[in-house]
């Protein structure tokens, strides 16, 4: 009853406020929706009219299945690495104060202003056989001789995680900041161990942030083009690099459009799937 009243009272101003989104909507329709529609049209039309033949031939080729698998595997690994590093970092950022927080925040946000091409080239140097990573691994006794990580999947995951890490940290940070530290204390005084408190209080309350971060990083890394081009090369194809090759080198616009639609479907599936998962998790809490 009270909820109904609140909704009724809120409806009118919301309608008017919605007009503020007009520029963004107009921009998206013109600059994104329309080209997307053209792409879609090209993907499903052949010389004889409407057809799904391009998709059939795309999925008939085992190489394309390999490309899809590569794309998902790398994106999943990058997302996982970002989550493992980003989650604790978000807490450090949210719970630090004064100068420490300022320095941490700058360290996370400033790198965003460096172009991805520059960063990818920098990682080429770092991941070389005589790069710092290889030398450090020898020093630490992880490997007996310098290992070249450049042009390997591990190197790609390492470089991409570095580039996308802020997109994991910032959404988690924004929810951690809103958590009342007394909730954890309340849990403790009710007899909950630190692990139980994390499981029942901190994790559920940060889940929306985790999910946003995962969707950000996964969508970014599923579609990344420059980083794999520079860090792993042509031998290892992902959907994004395949699109690039189709249009730029093979001049096969049909294959490029089809691949783009597969990538789009994959991204939509992941974003929609994770929102449903999140809602279900929240309900089961």
């Amino acid at each position: 009853m009270t909820a109904k009243v609140a909704v009724a009272r809120r409806r009118e101003p919301v309608d008017r406020v919605a007009w503020l989104a007009l520029p963004a909507v107009a921009y998206l329709v013109v600059a994104y929706g329309w080209p997307l529609l053209l792409l879609l049209a090209r993907g499903v039309t052949g010389p004889t009219g409407l057809t799904l033949a391009p998709f059939a031939s795309f999925f008939a080729d085992p190489f394309h299945w390999q490309v899809v698998a590569n794309t998902i595997k790398i994106a999943a690994l990058v997302t996982l690495v970002c989550l493992l590093i980003g989650y604790p970092t978000a807490f450090a950022l949210a719970w630090s104060a004064g100068w420490a927080q300022l320095v941490l925040l700058a360290a996370i946000i400033l790198p965003l202003s460096v172009g991805v091409v520059v960063k990818a080239f920098a990682w080429q140097i770092v991941l070389r056989r005589d790069g710092v990573v290889a030398l450090a691994m020898v020093k630490l006794g992880i490997s007996s001789e310098p290992v070249r990580l450049l042009f390997t999947e591990a190197g790609l995951v390492l470089g991409a995680s570095n580039v996308f890490l802020p997109f994991m940290i910032l959404p988690i940070y924004s929810v951690v900041k809103l958590i009342d530290p007394r909730l954890n204390e309340a849990g403790a005084t009710l007899g909950a161990t630190p692990f139980y408190r994390f499981k029942r209080i901190v994790l559920p309350l940060t889940l929306p942030g985790i999910l946003t971060g995962v969707v950000f990083v996964f969508s970014l890394s599923i579609a990344m083009y420059v980083i794999p081009s520079l860090l792993i090369g042509d031998r290892f194809q992902t959907l994004a690099t395949l699109i690039g090759r189709s249009f730029l080198f093979m001049r096969n616009e049909q294959l490029g459009s089809t691949t783009a639609l597969v990538l789009l479907a994959l991204a939509v599936f992941v974003v929609a799937g994770s929102s449903i998962l999140a809602r279900r998790l929240e309900r089961s809490q």
Binding site: T2, A3, D180, R182, L183, E185, A186, G187, A188, T189, L190, G191, A192, T193, P194, Y196, R200, I201, P204, L205, E282, Q285
Partner: protein
């Protein structure tokens, strides 16, 4: 009877600021004790030390005969009702109350029965499946109390739980909480800056000031026999007349004030600067016979408070004269000079420099 909760020589500093200095306090089993003081007096710090949310720099805490000074909060068996209630926003009312039981691995049947019982006790059974985010302040407070009590802690700590409620609701909740704690015979320590709340609810009150306990006594003693000038001025209103001691002996002093000589309880040498404090309801209006003390002062304000009337008088610099009466005598107008009397037994002398 040994103290159920015993705080021995507890001290705490933050950076260079000493928040709590050498506090010793004992609370009996089943007792309701208030820590009363202005903000920054260290009362919340003391509460957090007892709860285990803060480690004292010095001293020890004993509960039920055990030294719990270094024990983590989740193994202390001490419940806390926080000032902002700290309800888990992602859980329902029932899930909040069940949290402590589930954390202690109670059986499902026991948890359900206990949650139902405690929601009944705080009249929240109907709202069991609501999200706590949609509750009013009073309802949130009930859930917080039920959540803290459902695990049957040895001790319940309450950190200003009524400060966010409006006056009417606050009084209802105070009575309810007192009844609930008595029914469950729970030992409780209650932090507040509200003197009325402390006087109304407590078995004993520890009045705190600048990180130390000024007086620890039952409410009537705190009010009628304040041990220090701080207690006199912090708890309740008072008439205050300052001057110097001209005669002393037999536990009484005669203080020469700007309003004439006043006899009061106290032990000060002749010549000492002192002030005399009297509670407003212990002062009588109008001329009377055989009074030990009588002064005449011009009436300044009449404040009607429903069940009582407060009269403020114009007094000498640094002094104040306040009288409380049930019914205002006829013909009292601001500006009129009125005789006011009080017994020397109701007047207490304090060292003048101690006046806060």
């Amino acid at each position: 009877m040994p103290d159920f909760l015993r705080i021995a020589g507890a001290g705490k500093s933050f950076a260079a600021t000493r928040v709590l200095g050498d506090v010793t306090l004992g609370v009996g089993r089943g007792e309701f004790v208030s820590l009363l003081g202005p903000s920054g007096c260290g009362k919340t710090t003391l509460l957090r030390i007892v709860a285990g949310l803060l480690r004292p720099d010095a001293g020890s805490v004993y509960l039920d005969g055990e030294d719990i000074t270094t024990r983590p909060p989740h193994r202390r068996d001490i419940g806390v009702v926080f000032q902002n209630y700290a309800l888990f926003p992602h859980l329902t009312v029932a899930e909040n109350v069940a949290f402590g039981l589930e954390a202690r691995r109670a059986t499902r049947a026991h948890t359900q029965a206990t949650v139902a019982r405690f929601l009944d006790l705080v009249h929240m059974r109907d709202l069991a499946d609501r999200s706590v985010k949609v509750l009013s302040g009073g309802q949130q407070q009930r859930v917080a109390v039920a959540r803290a009590l459902a695990v049957r802690p040895k001790l319940l700590l309450l950190d200003e739980p009524f400060s966010a409620l409006d006056r009417k609701l606050r009084e209802t909740m105070q009575i309810e909480l007192k009844r609930l704690l008595r029914e469950l015979s729970t030992t409780a320590v209650f932090v507040t800056h509200d003197q009325d709340e402390a006087l109304m609810m407590s078995d004993r009150i520890a009045v705190m000031n600048r990180g130390a306990i000024e007086q620890f006594d039952d409410p009537a003693t705190i009010y009628h026999r304040p041990a220090t000038a701080f207690v006199l001025s912090f708890v309740g209103m008072s008439t205050r007349l300052s001057g110097s001691v001209v005669d002393a002996g037999d536990g009484q002093v005669l203080v020469a004030t700007a309003h004439g000589p006043v006899r009061a309880r106290g032990a000060f040498p002749c010549g000492a600067k002192a002030f005399v404090g009297v509670r407003p309801e212990r002062m009588q209006l109008g001329p009377g016979l055989g009074r030990e003390n009588e002064i005449e002062v011009p009436l300044r304000d009449i404040v009607f408070q429903g069940s009582k009337v407060q009269l403020h008088f114009t007094a000498a610099a640094g002094d104040q004269v306040v009288v409380e009466t049930v019914q205002l005598p006829l013909g009292f107008e601001p500006g009129a000079h009125i005789k006011v009397g009080f017994a020397s037994n109701d007047a207490m002398a304090f060292a003048a420099e101690a006046l806060p």
